[in-house]
């Protein structure tokens, strides 16, 4: 059966740089009784955070939420728009960018697990993964890509099942 009754409950997506044979990101999404479970593993975010600073906290203030923004993020409206949805239980708010609330978590190089108590359709799930992949590539290209040298950050080993 290939109809939509067989909606995927588990999708694994790996993006590999061809020239350097480096794995930019592994994204696994599973839908279950608790909602959406994500597994993310990427050298890009930790390297980005280590160079530009991470989003460390959110500050509720008079009904608004402010963020301790690292310099790297302040200069990139692309990312700031994604942070607008901090704390929301939607992974692709308004069909826009992935919600990146969980990216303040450390350990992306080793892989992190995140549970988001929400629901998604098949197309939303696939959109989220595509957008997240695009986002990771953008970060890599804009901030981290070595000039005239091979990529240093290479993840070896298999992703978690």
């Amino acid at each position: 059966m290939t109809n939509e009754a067989n909606l995927p409950i588990f999708v694994n997506r790996e993006t590999i740089l061809k020239n350097e044979n480096a794995r930019l990101i592994t994204i696994q999404v599973k839908r279950d009784s608790e909602g959406i479970k994500l597994y993310l593993k990427s050298p890009v975010f930790e390297k980005f955070f280590s160079q530009y600073g991470a989003v460390e906290s959110q500050i509720p203030w008079l009904g608004h939420t402010a963020y301790n923004m690292p310099a790297g993020l302040e200069s990139a409206s692309y990312q700031a728009r994604a942070l607008k949805y901090w704390g929301k239980n939607t992974l692709v708010p308004d069909g826009d960018l992935p919600n990146l609330a969980f990216l303040r978590m450390r350990g992306l190089s080793d892989g992190i697990n995140v549970t988001v108590p929400t629901v998604m359709t098949r197309s939303q799930l696939l959109d989220f993964m595509r957008l997240f992949k695009d986002y990771t590539q953008t970060l890599y290209r804009e901030f981290l890509k070595p000039v005239n040298q091979s990529l240093e950050i290479i993840i070896s080993g298999d992703a978690q099942n």
């Binding site: 009754a5 995927p8 992949k133």
Partner: protein, 224 residues
């Protein structure tokens, strides 16, 4: 599977019934879409029960069914589910097609006449319950592609607002026993689908989904 349910009943209410509702702490809420009734119904609008079991919903209908109904009245059923995967499994076109097919079969078996307002709602001719499939928009409360409000569809996946699936298909039947059977039919269709469309064992496949010169993206998908 189904955790709780609530029904909205629209119609005209006699003074006696309104007093009974008041004693039970159930307000008759204003609803601009509900038309006028005879003089014996000075109150009009909609009532709903607190989330309950399906039996609780049927008892509510039995006890408080409006005194009069007409073609401006709808009966909307909200249900919540024990787990989120069940809700997601209903957010598919496969389920939508299944639902329409099964509910049509129920209506024919029920002997609902061709000129009954059920059929105009079923065809999507009624503004408040269109044949529109847009769960992604409904989850976020966004307008439908036809410009209508997010809930104006036969099935409304109002997760963001209520955490429920709302079925807006049914009219208020003149016969409250038929209305009770209609509620039961909707619930049976949900539960039968979830029971008969079980997740199957993973069947991995690898697709190259992005093969640009710089990157290679592989996708492994397993399905239910």
């Amino acid at each position: 599977m189904i955790a709780a349910a609530s029904v909205e009943l629209e119609g005209g209410f006699s003074s006696k019934l309104t007093y009974e509702l008041s004693d039970a702490g159930i307000p008759v809420r204003h609803d601009g879409s509900v038309g006028r009734f005879t003089d014996r119904c000075p109150y009009r609008g909609e009532i709903s029960n607190s989330p309950a079991s399906i039996d609780g919903v049927l008892n509510f209908i039995h006890k408080y069914y409006p005194t009069e109904v007409n073609d401006t009245c709808g009966m909307h059923l909200h249900v919540s589910f024990d787990n989120k995967l069940d809700y997601m499994r209903l957010m598919t076109k496969t389920f939508y097609s299944y639902f329409l097919k099964e509910i049509e079969a129920w209506a024919k078996a029920e002997g609902i006449p061709e000129n009954d307002r059920f059929w105009s709602r079923f065809r999507g001719d009624v503004h408040y319950t269109g044949r529109v499939w847009a769960p992604e928009l409904q989850l976020l409360g966004h307008d439908l592609p036809n410009g209508e409000g997010s809930r104006y569809a036969i099935l409304n996946f109002c997760w963001g607002k209520h955490g429920t699936l709302e079925c807006r298909l049914m009219p208020m039947f003149e016969d409250k026993e038929r209305s009770k059977r209609a509620i039961k039919a909707i619930v049976d269709i949900y539960e039968k689908y979830l029971t008969t469309h079980k997740p199957r064992e993973p069947n991995y496949k690898i697709d190259v989904v992005d093969d640009s010169p710089e990157v290679l993206t592989e996708e492994i998908t397993s399905c239910v």
